[in-house]
Amino acid sequence: MIDWILFWDAAPYLVRGALATLYITALSTLLSMALGLLLAVARMSRRPWLRVPAIAYIDFMRGVPLLVLLLFIYFALPPTIGIDLSPFAAGIIGLGTCGAAYTAEIFRGGIMSVPHGQIEAAQSLGMGYWKTMRIVVLPQALRVSVPALTNEWITLLKDSSLVSVIGMEELVRRGQFVISRTFDAFTPLLLVALIYLVLTYGSSFILNRLEKRLSYD
């Protein structure tokens, strides 16, 4: 059962691990949003040389398990192309490039939800493609995408635990350290689970508030 002394002893150590978890999730989310936006626009392009690679990328990333992708990026890629990747960098790249595939589809849905009349109105004012996108389409598409992006953030927050297998010292990795030092699995894992709950619940609370503030009717 719960070892309360261990619980309070390990808590600060694990909370610092949770900060690392938040940090890598935030960075990979930034990467996945930026890349996802580009992919979404490319995926909807009329030009096949933009569209086809975007579709291939999305299908590939959604089809390969994230764990395999992370192992590949950390263990297989660096020696092959002769670079050196830290677990941190490999983790961000893996989470970000994989998340980008899902985020791209979220953005694509958001962009398609904007009525065509909006685009025509923007063009009638003299706006070109990019201006129409930036000023009229994306602000509306992003609002529509917020609930799905909240989901994606939570998924990424939990999936970031996978980077423990390549040695990134985040919440789960630290939990494992505590287990191996104390031979007690129950208390540290309970604590780890609780911290994830607080993180996910807190994020959805904040993001739901944001969603309400962004809605305009």
């Binding site: 009525p115 025509e120 109105a121 009638s124 004012l125 003299g126 706006m127 509306q140 305009y216 009717d217």
Partner: protein
């Protein structure tokens, strides 16, 4: 101002426009009438190239705007457009909608644009709604904002694509009132409309279209009151009977929406 010559357009096998010719002089109000599916809206959409015409040309101040070397941005700054469904930007306030073209296309300073925006909102009687988003406005109010938006960039011509067709009957009057004021200011207007009385009162010239051709054109006194062609006669008769019950409000005070349509006896 605008001269449409031999304009053709097909969607697949369907020939929507088969050689359309007409012109709009500076300061004139030209109305295109005809039953739905006659290609009226397509004419407007081909003029500002929202739709790509298959053939013919559209001369704007003597230059063919359908030429692919004619800049789209330049074309669209000269021709404003008001849509049936308003198409206001829902994430912007009424004021931001009005000045969107000024700020983002003509790169006017924020202060300058805001001043002009308030002036235009006052002109359509909605100055007090400047900070309200379209979702909170009635259809008639939204369309008035859309007219202010079309006016903002100082176009040479404004095209109205069935501006009152999506409105509740009680808000049609306020939109027509604003259009009447815009016409009185000397704006060149090309209007696709079903409002027969309004068209008769305001239009200098009427183009009656059916099945992709101009059947008859002339002043309202001819096309509406004394049509030469059988097809025109049939259309006018049909429209007159369906619109017999609609009251067209009298012009009221400046900038104020009329109340004729909403106030009873």
């Amino acid at each position: 101002m605008i001269e449409v010559q031999g304009l053709t357009k097909a969607f697949g096998h369907l020939e929507v426009l088969r050689s359309i010719d007409f012109k709009v002089d500076k300061g004139q109000v030209v109305a295109i009438i005809g039953s739905s599916g006659s290609g009226k809206s397509t004419v407007l959409r081909c003029i500002n190239r929202l739709e790509k015409a298959d053939g013919g040309c559209v001369l704007l101040k003597g230059e063919n705007v359908l030429d692919k070397h004619y800049s789209l941005t330049r074309l669209r700054q000269q021709i404003g457009m008001v849509f049936q469904q308003f198409n206001l930007f829902p994430h912007m306030t009424a004021l931001e909608n009005v000045i969107a073209g000024l700020v983002h296309v003509q790169h006017a300073s924020k202060a300058e644009a805001t001043e002009r925006g308030f002036e235009l909102l006052a002109r359509v009687g909605l100055k007090d709604k400047a900070d309200v988003r379209p979702g909170k406005l009635s259809g008639g109010q939204q369309q008035r904002v859309a007219i202010a938006r079309a006016l903002a960039t100082n176009p040479d011509v404004i095209m109205f694509d069935e501006p009152t067709s999506a409105l509740d009957p009680e808000t049609i009057g306020e939109v027509l009132e604003v259009m009447r004021a815009v016409a009185a200011d000397g704006m060149t207007m090309l209007v696709v409309s079903h409002e027969m009385e309004f068209t008769r009162e305001l239009a200098d010239w009427i183009v009656f279209m059916d099945e992709g051709v101009v059947v008859e054109s002339g002043p309202p006194s001819q096309v509406i009151d004394n049509p030469k062609m059988e097809r025109t006669r049939a259309f006018v008769r049909k429209l007159a009977s369906s619109h017999a019950a609609v009251d067209i409000p009298e012009p009221s005070g400046e900038g104020q929406p009329p109340h004729a349509a909403t106030t009873g006896s």
